[in-house]
Symmetry: C2
Subunit: 221 residues, 2 copies
Amino acid sequence: MERHFEKDLNELKERLLWMGGLAERAVHQAVQAVLNADEQIAQRVLAEETAINEMQIEIDDRVVHVLALHQLMAVDLRFVLAVSRINNDLERIGDQAVNIAQAAQRILRHPRVKPYVDLPKMSEIVEGMMRDALNALVRRDVVLAQSVLSRDDQVDNLRDQIFRELLTYMMGDSSVVYPAFDLILMAKNLERIGDHATNIAEDVIYFVQGRDVRHPAVDRR
Amino acid sequence: MERHFEKDLNELKERLLWMGGLAERAVHQAVQAVLNADEQIAQRVLAEETAINEMQIEIDDRVVHVLALHQLMAVDLRFVLAVSRINNDLERIGDQAVNIAQAAQRILRHPRVKPYVDLPKMSEIVEGMMRDALNALVRRDVVLAQSVLSRDDQVDNLRDQIFRELLTYMMGDSSVVYPAFDLILMAKNLERIGDHATNIAEDVIYFVQGRDVRHPAVDRR
């Protein structure tokens, strides 16, 4: 019996990591579609969204299955609940990748306006946060998860800087307002992916330590 | 024993609805802070965020407690998992309300630029979606939940229209770029609140019908 639930929990983790791989790939491809002005890669992101959505449903079904079959202890319950939440975050990361891919398609229709300010740098940090959040999950590595949380401010600062530069650019030349605005939306999408990676890292700390780090200001008993 | 778990599930629902009330109030106040240029209400939203965060942690603790104490059937498991996800959505709605309240504070420092285009209308629809998603939860009302989903496109269209109008406005007068951009960010925040209300409505349908409506394109067995 014990073996049985361990096997189910392991399978659940494996499927979640597979889903994580799909979401990472979607983000990476969507960013490349913008930066390399590559319509084909943008199309691929849109085509592959279904796989992420199917995986989300499969994982939610497995979560219900595991909880219905086994009376788990608190530590394992926290793990299963974290999987359920991380599953949601990964699906929403996939949605953000789709938004970026669609922005890429719009941007391709305009003449290229300008180097993409700090968007490549912001993408790199956000992709690193996703990768490390998933690695922290695999290794139950709280230190790595903490390092993801600590990068969130950096992402917010880069976003503000990108906003400022693009708004200044728009003020100087009203003909670039629309393409520059698509880059602003891309920065918003990347910020949101960083938020989801942060949520995943918080969930890893939650299930490893049984400690909630989401609201440090709240007095925890 | 049976009574016992029903009592726990009911308490869980009551607390979630209390949290829903806090989130609704935060959104309503944040929107009023912008539309009425009211610094005091903006401050109140920031002060009340802690209560939402504390409630999120309490509800997550209750979810673990209920699952640890009772071996639930699939229908009740789906309800508890939905509560856990809705709890997350409500907390993130609270975050969006904080963002809007902070935008209100920035906007107050600029001279008032223009009537707020369709932002009052968009706010009204989004607040209605939240209210009805929570009412659908109380009444297990799938038809009402469906009506929330059907409003999502309307919100996206309003958002696009608000973007277009504000961008045109910015193109005509570069001195309004910053205050107009804060209104654009507010439209993004409202859109995201609408997304969370949609997620809540989907979760209501999921636990009432045992049917996943999140990805209609996916072939469900």
